[in-house]
Symmetry: C2
Subunit: 340 residues, 2 copies
């Protein structure tokens, strides 16, 4: 049984903690945070993590948390003595300090999230594409939501058909549903650096991939959407491509022609399935958009920014602690989260 | 055991059908619809209503549904023979035809939704305010989401303190999350009739209530918000008012000061509680906004347009079939939906 601590109970951290809690080969020994937020209170007092020990992740945070009525088990240092691995879901910048001041001195393995600097860990991780590279590692970064979706889809096409080069045009959500003071509210903001960081991020997972990415930010909170163009290395039809996607774990196909022709309508499907928080951990390709013209392949997919990296975090844990191989770990993770 | 049919599996109908299915004194004998929509497929084939019999609610719909691969049990007429009551959640206009051509000839009781014409039923219903008026009735209209929230809150204040008059200013959502082609997208639309229909709708439930409503529509999908101003008939403090709200079923208090200061943040709480579809069947008053100045009381509340009427539909069933009194019915309903 692997003892796991989750540091940072925000959008990503709360989901990873709940997911860890569902695994039969992991024990969630606690969560750590600094701020007595309403979100933390909901999750720990009324939500799925009732009775999970809470640790103060900064020395002066304990008082703040206790003053707000939280039951604090102790400082994070105590939890680190028990932990085999920490999943760090703190904001970019804090993660780096945590590595230096908490994880390295306590000799504890740690996973960082997509916002972290590339230098934070020797391995940038995506379960589909490079599970084995994380085997036994002390520090691993699970790549961001956008990068995760690109790794899953491009790795599949590359492995089964062959990718000469790819261009992905990202239409990013402005903020998450709870983040009401983020913009844009009525404008589209281009990322002025071309390529955007997502292309290089994909290359950290798949160094051989010739990929360029462009990105804009739009006024929506439900998900990102990517328009992808691939130059194929080999002949293939749209049906072949659909078969590849159909075949792979954590890629799902939805069809506009079946009534799911928008992010809102796909989210409605997740709600109708009673998925917790309407999470969709799969990269969702609109099957209707998969088109081949000569050696050019096109498609559009949707990325649920809040949850898509959750399964990859679980698999990274199993790789780093050498608990399972890729296929077995992914199967366990998928079964526990009701993913196909 | 009351045999219930739900006609119309849209935003409201699918929720009512799932809620009926959870009651131990009701049997969901089937749902009826006309369109082989993706939403219907999700709910009946993968969602909470798997294996619920589907009936075609129009003569030519059966072929359409079967052509699309749905397993159709028969025409709605067959279901009506078994049904004690139909909950009609079809669009306004269709409901009227259904009453005339289906429910009256088959001598079946029916509940209609807030969009229906006032003339469709002799009783406009809100469980908190006038449960007993529906006792034994053949046709009842459960009032709309906005009206439901006003009835719950105003009835409570009126009963415990006394209301001389009320003005409610409604900020309505443009559409539901799945309704991507509704507006407005970047504009605020005033309802040019003053009062808006909501005031008169409240008066159908509480004829003695002196209420005026104004309304605008804004670009959001999560919920409506009302700013309410009441002239009190008796002295009261803000604390008294909070106690009244605290005390009543189906009214919940949230506080901006505790991190829930927006519709997005309250929705996030519902997600963190793993509420199915993040539904919030309670009218939610922001406790911080409850303010008394002299005889003037002010507050702001939030209305989850997709789900708030669901519990009232269940209670209307019990009233019309004379199964329980108000308090027992509301308790049963609330327990089954995990409402306080």
């Amino acid at each position: 049984m692997a003892n796991i601590l989750v540091n940072g109970v925000g959008t990503i951290g709360k989901r990873i903690a709940e997911a860890v809690d569902k695994q039969n080969d992991m024990e969630l020994i606690g969560v750590a945070d600094v701020e007595p937020s309403g979100e933390l209170r909901t999750v720990l007092e009324e939500g799925a993590l009732r009775d999970t020990p809470l640790f103060a992740s900064m020395p002066d945070a304990r008082g703040d948390l206790e003053d707000a009525g939280f039951d604090v088990e102790g400082r994070i240092g105590h939890a680190l003595e028990e932990a085999d691995l920490v999943v760090d879901a703190t904001p970019a910048g804090i993660d780096e300090k945590n590595k230096e001041k908490l994880y390295e001195p306590n000799d504890v393995k740690a996973i960082f999230q997509g916002g972290a600097a590339a230098s934070i860990a020797p391995v940038a991780f995506n379960a589909n594409a490079n599970f084995e590279e994380a085997r036994g590692e002390d520090f691993v970064k699970v790549v961001s939501c956008n990068t995760t979706s690109l790794c899953r889809t491009l790795y599949a096409i590359d492995e089964d058909i062959g990718v000469d080069s790819a261009v992905a045009n990202l239409v990013r959500r402005g903020g998450d549903p709870k983040q009401d003071s983020r913009g844009p509210i009525n404008s589209i903001i281009p990322v002025s650096d071309v390529p955007s960081h997502h292309g290089p991020d994909v290359q950290e997972v798949m160094p051989w991939m010739d990929i360029t990415t462009l990105a804009v930010k739009v006024p929506t909170t439900l998900s990102h959407v990517h328009m992808v163009n691939v130059e194929l290395a080999d002949d293939a039809t749209a049906e072949d491509v659909l078969d590849v996607f159909e075949d792979r774990p954590r890629i799902r196909l939805e069809y506009a022609s079946e009534g799911f022709g928008s992010t809102g309508k796909v989210v409605e499907k997740m709600r109708d399935l009673h998925r917790p928080r309407y999470d969709m951990q799969e990269a969702t390709v609109w099957g209707d958009t998969v088109t081949v013209e000569g050696d050019q392949l096109y498609w559009i997919h949707m990325v649920h920014q809040e949850s898509i990296v959750v399964p990859d975090n679980l698999d990274a844990i199993r790789a780093m602690l050498e608990m399972e191989n890729r296929d077995k770990s992914m199967r366990k993770t998928n079964a526990s989260l009701d993913l196909r």
